[in-house]
């Protein structure tokens, strides 16, 4: 049986990431806050008595739906849908080596720790910008898999697509991000 404290702890653990994820999608802090609040209330009002283990998946689903509802209300659904199919061609990925990027990042890890706060914040902001630039489905899959730490099956369930699609979205998102960050000289 779920308790109020468990629900509170869960919401506390996801609210900031949910807010940032939504900001990446809608690019509007106020709208993102409304969407997260609406999602929290929907979860609490309808699914509070469900086992806490089910909450993460349900919440991600609600958050995605609430974000889509926002886009519908903004009457830009067509633009969003065009983004959904805006997958990069795999042809240009052939000349890009993710391993080289990671190895370069390994070497530079010590340098990162000595970077000053301003530069670091600037770097983090650029990373966020690149994440926000990803096509919607790629970004959702990427963030659910690596930020929310959901497995492929959970992500597929939350996104309402197949596990193969999740893997494809994630792979393309990783390669796009790695390429964009490398072009900006950003190391992680």
């Amino acid at each position: 049986m779920a308790s109020e404290k468990e629900l509170s702890d869960f919401l506390k653990s996801v609210e900031r990431r949910a807010f940032k994820r939504t900001v990446y999608a809608v690019r509007d802090d106020e709208a993102a806050l409304d969407i997260v609040q609406d999602s929290m209330i929907r979860l609490a009002g309808k699914y509070a008595d469900r086992p806490p283990a089910e909450w993460p998946l349900i919440f991600q689903r609600i958050l995605s739906n609430a974000t889509m509802d926002w886009f519908r209300r903004q009457k830009v659904r067509n633009a969003v849908l065009s983004n959904f199919s805006d997958f990069e061609s795999g042809n240009d990925a052939g000349d890009f080596d993710l391993l080289e990027t990671l190895e370069a990042q390994d070497v530079s890890e010590g340098v990162e720790s000595t970077a000053n706060v301003v530069a670091r914040n600037q770097t983090l902001r650029q990373i966020e910008e690149e994440v926000a630039k990803l096509p919607t489905r790629q970004r959702e899959a990427f963030l659910m898999r690596y930020w929310e730490e959901m497995d492929v099956a959970e992500t597929a369930a939350a996104m309402g697509c197949s596990e193969g699609s999740v893997k494809t979205h994630c792979s393309r998102a990783v390669h796009s991000l790695a390429k964009a960050l490398k072009s900006k000289g950003i190391t992680l």
């Binding site: 049986m1 109020e4 806050l33 993710l98």
Partner: protein, 153 residues
């Protein structure tokens, strides 16, 4: 590419590299969430509290349902092992059996009392002298005319 000639990256290698990169990006994104402005964190806290207020009736109802189910389970659990449960059922039936036996005894007692009383009245009637006025009764006259059918074993 730094792989040996006889060791090309497998899909598992690529997936591992992707996961590693993805987790690093996620870690940087998490760093950013710790630095959210105060007004944003306050709005999120307020949203959380509103959500919890909405959840309270549902959680209370679920809690009550569990309590009812739990007490039922506790009652059943009081029986202990199956053998204990059997004796518990038997002992709970004993008062009922005693009540039924008592009712049967009372019923039989009253019946025997009635029989004894009727027998005493009959005996008194048969042994007493018939009053003269009885012979004026048409019914008694008919009784006397009827053949007496007494079989003796």
């Amino acid at each position: 590419m730094n792989y040996p000639i006889d060791r090309r990256p497998t899909s598992a290698d690529v997936m591992a590299l992707e996961a590693r990169f993805g987790l690093r990006v996620a870690a940087r994104l998490s760093d950013r969430t710790h630095a959210l402005p105060h007004d944003i964190t306050e709005r999120l806290r307020s949203a959380r509290e509103q959500a919890l207020a909405k959840a309270r009736p549902r959680l209370a109802a679920a809690s009550a349902a569990v309590a009812v189910g739990g007490s039922g389970a506790a009652t059943l659990a009081a029986g202990g092992s199956p053998a204990d449960s059997w004796w518990w059922r038997l002992s709970s039936l004993a008062p009922l059996a005693l009540l039924v036996a008592g009712l049967i005894w009372v019923h039989e007692f009253h019946r025997s009392e009635e029989i004894v009383a009727v027998a005493e009245v009959d005996a008194a009637l048969l042994t007493d002298a018939v009053p003269p006025s009885a012979y004026a009764d048409p019914g008694f006259a008919e009784f006397l005319k009827a053949p007496l059918d007494i079989s003796v074993n």
